[in-house]
Amino acid sequence: MGTGDFALLTRASVSFHTNGEDKDDDTRVEVTVRLMDQTVVASIADEFGHFDDDSDAGPFDLLITQAATRRALKTGSVAVKIDPDGDDTWQFNFFLDLLFDDGAHLIAWATGLEVTEERREQSFGIQ
């Protein structure tokens, strides 16, 4: 088991709260966790079904594709991207939980987001 900055990522999960504009059931959502050099550490891409107005969804576990330490992920980022079939505006909050093998976390979260067929992606720092 690693400790401190050398603790290894063991689980990455994301939760959503949809606000005043729902997500259509055929809108695909991609969540990608990257290191500072853009190496992909974990990701998920799925339609997840319909997210109704004012509803909670998740947590959804990301597939970890690259071993990463907490030190490396402290300067990483997470991108949330949609691929709608036609038009879709989705307003939401998200919470990304990165759990390490020493039981401590890094997180990324934001509230009041909006993505559309024209502005599909937003990225956030990991804290």
């Binding site: 400790t3 401190g4 900055d5 603790a7 709260h17 606000n19 005043g20 004012d54 909670d56 907490r70 402290k74 909050n93 919470f95 939980d97 390490f100 020493d102 039981g103 401590a104 976390h105 890094l106 997180i107 979260w109 509230t111 009041g112 804290q127």
Partner: protein
């Protein structure tokens, strides 16, 4: 001569440096005169590590509020807080005797415990409901 073996240093056990809470109110708002109490407790359920006690204003339906930073009351290491808990309370004494008008608040929350090494512990839940009327009502949640 026997080779000396350096002792293995203990794993780091950083101190809590900040505790904060964010709320998302669902379909029942929090009245402006409902007092909110958030306490981070050690496993003995009596040692308060961090605390927030405030009315915090009105939380409208489907709104996000916070983060609100808790007052640090007692130093605590991460190992101590792994077995700790978060207690959230609400009280509405209002203006109508004997126990005010009462308030039902439905919400999600995240308590973020940040340590000096930049890592976090969390307590969170969705779909919490509190019916505040008269004395404080509390719910407790584990820290993960």
């Amino acid at each position: 001569m026997a080779e000396s073996i350096a002792p293995v240093p203990p794993p780091p056990d950083p101190l809590l440096t900040r505790a904060s809470v964010i709320f998302h109110t669902n379909d029942e708002d929090k009245d402006s005169d409902t007092l909110v109490d958030v306490e981070v407790l050690l496993s003995d359920q009596s040692t308060v590590v961090a605390k927030l006690l405030d009315y915090l204003g009105h939380f409208d339906d489907h709104s996000n509020d916070g983060p609100f930073v808790l007052l640090m009351v007692q130093p605590a290491h991460r190992s101590q807080l792994r077995t700790g808990s978060v207690k959230i309370g609400a009280q509405n004494t209002g203006s109508v005797p004997p126990f005010g008008h009462g308030d039902t608040w439905r919400f999600n929350f995240v308590v973020d415990l940040l340590f000096e090494d930049g890592a976090h512990l969390l307590a969170r839940a969705n779909g919490v409901q509190m019916k505040a009327r008269g004395p404080f009502v509390f719910q407790s949640f584990g820290i993960e």
